[in-house]
Symmetry: D2
Subunit: 330 residues, 4 copies
Amino acid sequence: MKTLSFATRLNSFASRPQAAWPGLKGKPTVLQMVERAARVGGLTHLDLNYPDHLGGGAAQTRRQIADLGLAVNGLAMRYYTNPAFKLGAFTNPDPGVRQEAIDLTKRGIDAAMQAGAPLMTLWLGQDGFDHAFQADYARLWQQELDGIREVAAHDPGCAISIEYKPNEPRSYSLLPDCATTLLAIREIGLPNLGVTIDFAHSLYADEQPACAATLIARHSRLLGVHLNDGYGKRDDGLMVGAVHTIKTIELLRQIRRDGYVGPIYFDTFPDTTGLDPVRECEVNIATVKRMMEVVDRLDRSNRLEEAVAAQNAVEAQAIVQAALMAPDAT
Amino acid sequence: MKTLSFATRLNSFASRPQAAWPGLKGKPTVLQMVERAARVGGLTHLDLNYPDHLGGGAAQTRRQIADLGLAVNGLAMRYYTNPAFKLGAFTNPDPGVRQEAIDLTKRGIDAAMQAGAPLMTLWLGQDGFDHAFQADYARLWQQELDGIREVAAHDPGCAISIEYKPNEPRSYSLLPDCATTLLAIREIGLPNLGVTIDFAHSLYADEQPACAATLIARHSRLLGVHLNDGYGKRDDGLMVGAVHTIKTIELLRQIRRDGYVGPIYFDTFPDTTGLDPVRECEVNIATVKRMMEVVDRLDRSNRLEEAVAAQNAVEAQAIVQAALMAPDAT
Amino acid sequence: MKTLSFATRLNSFASRPQAAWPGLKGKPTVLQMVERAARVGGLTHLDLNYPDHLGGGAAQTRRQIADLGLAVNGLAMRYYTNPAFKLGAFTNPDPGVRQEAIDLTKRGIDAAMQAGAPLMTLWLGQDGFDHAFQADYARLWQQELDGIREVAAHDPGCAISIEYKPNEPRSYSLLPDCATTLLAIREIGLPNLGVTIDFAHSLYADEQPACAATLIARHSRLLGVHLNDGYGKRDDGLMVGAVHTIKTIELLRQIRRDGYVGPIYFDTFPDTTGLDPVRECEVNIATVKRMMEVVDRLDRSNRLEEAVAAQNAVEAQAIVQAALMAPDAT
Amino acid sequence: MKTLSFATRLNSFASRPQAAWPGLKGKPTVLQMVERAARVGGLTHLDLNYPDHLGGGAAQTRRQIADLGLAVNGLAMRYYTNPAFKLGAFTNPDPGVRQEAIDLTKRGIDAAMQAGAPLMTLWLGQDGFDHAFQADYARLWQQELDGIREVAAHDPGCAISIEYKPNEPRSYSLLPDCATTLLAIREIGLPNLGVTIDFAHSLYADEQPACAATLIARHSRLLGVHLNDGYGKRDDGLMVGAVHTIKTIELLRQIRRDGYVGPIYFDTFPDTTGLDPVRECEVNIATVKRMMEVVDRLDRSNRLEEAVAAQNAVEAQAIVQAALMAPDAT
């Protein structure tokens, strides 16, 4: 993370379409959204959804993005093509639907390789349950692991990153939090598996994100970092640092220490209320850069290390609040 | 709030007793805790619990505190003298216990007047219910209001401030949040009633504290501000700004605008894990002072006002993050 | 509630469309959904969304529904026609958009009268905020009340029911819970205003629904009851009694005591995972009927009353668990 | 679980002491509480806290309990003897305090063996953190595992059961949920380790308890089942089935299928509000017995199995609600 790189959610750039494309009928095309994203100062990467964003072919999409000065960071699966996926992708009660989800994922992995971005993020949000007595949990767990194993084995050259989230769309997800995800990964045992930590998902799962990151570093590896913010009751998609400023700084410091070198991806939802997505992304980039300066100030001496070694929260807060709000004093 | 004044929780100063009083057997006395609190640089006021902290008499306690350079800000009722209060103070099913709670409160109000601090804070945490089908909610509401009315009428010269909290010790409190408290106050209709906002209670009630403050300003009046922090699942009692830095700054700006001039009280729990309470309080004071400087920076121009008028969260975040972390840039 | 009547959410009947309309392209029409709902044994009423469901005109829609043996219970506003509503309907920063929302609501009220169902439910989910420092809370409150007052005054013969919900789509709603809604209604002071309690929203707001119902009965009036279930973290839309069986029974008993005679409306989401909406609604009706039998058993003697008077949770639970699971024993 | 056995929390029997021991000064003795517990019809076992309840020696306490017709189910550690434990037992920053906690635990294990109950439950509630930047999470994890490994290796004949809980007393626990606990157990790799599932802790951790039980069965083994109920925001300690009736039934069915044969332990808090602990325990036993009858009705045919295989929540609810409330119909 010496030189920071930044990725962002492409669908954000459908926000407030009339401002970008006066007279546009319907939704913008993928290429239009890419062009708008390319206007963000400091942005380096894009993540694309499969299959939605790859309609023009992976190689061509990669070229178009490169021509605009950006790189593809990776792909993320979306299971919306068959309405039956609503009841489960890898854990659907229908074996045919399960296989369809697995096959779709394999094609997505192929597309990621063709796009020159050997990273596929799996958010298996449909795999879970809503009502008690709806599912055989042991069977679901087996199916989920079988599915992940099959797609991870499809191409050992493509990193497969599991993005956990506790609820929504299902009332309970099968992979709700960091530890359950790590338990699954250990059981599967394939080396190309890893974890994506989404800050708001981690809050939603009642985790301390920096603590989750250390668990991931110990038991698997961190393949993606999604920043945003929220209030812990749901996936709010707020701007970086808007609520949990200090927790975000703690996470940024932790992943730097643990050697994460990938891009910081903004998984925010400016489109929900029609915010300007270009400016929103630029403010997020500026916020992260300022946060990294706070991290630098924290690491200028070993005072914080000493406070942490003693679990002395008072001194740690004294140091952190000063580094945050009174940079000259530190 | 031109000149900030600061109050704090006296019981915090029982934390880590051997550090303050080597060789002490048992718990420190009230006076010992006061003496320790008086060492906090910048502290101006103390709040006392009734009856626990007033054993030596209100007038004498006031004098002892004044001799140490502090003032009494107000008293807060504690209903621990009769174990029957666990099932309810003003809403106890036993009319005798109800009257005992009311009479105790009246004596507390008398003590507040004698202590020269005409402010009594009521946190009616025992008044609520745990199980469905345990209580007649309409009857409880009537009893709660009757009790508050009777004690508020006892001495119109003493301000009575209701401090709400959603849960704990009861699973559900009868006065869980700002709006329910205001509904009760409007129904009672006595002018010496008001509201204390406790930051962590407000988070716990899923409120935006600054928004709660404006509701209080519109429907009643703000009589107390308890700062601390937490994660919204319970009353964590963390240090100021430790989690919700920006929400705390927003609250401080809002109450200054609404004309609050009382002390900022720290309702934190350093004693839970044996933190140094003197240093903890000093760090809290330093944090609030820095936050007020951020507020000053925010109000230096009308840029934030313009963003707020447009409900433009992107510009507002750009301004707030810069004022927080990059003071020179603003 | 002597003779129970049941209403339901029309959009549920778009679930699993191929099962109902083999070969259907696209979405079913309103009339198709009405026809499917009419197959539910025991269903008596429908609620319709305005403007979405009234495309054919209110009078004609009413007739078509009547021809199928159902009645219109009321209308509910949906603010989706202008994307600008995402940032607020009655509280939009743009005065023109605010007026557009108000005018749309007035036309909805006119349609409700024409449909012979003088009940308009307002769920003002867009009126709120996401980020700290995004909005002037006092101004939003004034605008919200001004808007409600204007539409309530439009036709005093139409009951206007406010349905509160704490979060989603906005991170914070302006009318998040029962007490805030009642505070707003008291301030507006118009007699045709009332409240709709949605069970899952009430859980989401950390309320005990039966307690919320008594607050509504005291300060305003209950105009709608939406049953469903959930886990309190979000609006899950689960089947009635699926999680909080006893809380639901408590609510049913409370509203019967308080004189509620309107239909029980099922605000569940079978369409989210493609459940059979006809069967789902029939099971919900059967569950409520069984619950009312439990209520009857509870009220067969005054044993529960005595336990409640003493706030004796142990005896209350003994009585309730027996009435629930061992009907012969009671 | 063919013949159900029931254990309970001994400290509950300090509730309402004047009713049991008129004229008692101070708190009841351990033996007094045991005698009172022995009056509960149907109770078979007690769990004891170490060191608090073993003052008279393990062998003698075991005999006294046996003389009253009960058996000791197991011991549970309590780390209250040194106030320094508040900042951590196995994860305390002071190596001397860490070793003191480990040594105390070993003596507790010895006492469990002497009491003829080779089961020690570890709830490591102090091992966690409150503020961001307070602790080095990787170091805490290593210390926690080292501590558990050392005490588990102390006597391979004593089962060591870890009881997880997400928060309280610390804001975040190091072993907050089922999956993190299983991850720790897999890493330690000793065969006498297992997991205790506490129903209210599981809700508090946003788990579906029956799903957690299947994870435990797959990755380790279930050594204890604590029933109670709550609202998911904290450890309410309510009576069994008071809130989540159906979830409790689902858990009971799941653990019977997975072969759990130990006692059902009631971890409820009647003492919090002075409920009658004897009657409270009897009602809990009656509720569990009724719930097992519901489980029997559910398993009378394979209809529920078929609904579950199809993840058909509608049919599953139809079957479950009928088995719960209308036993004759099933």
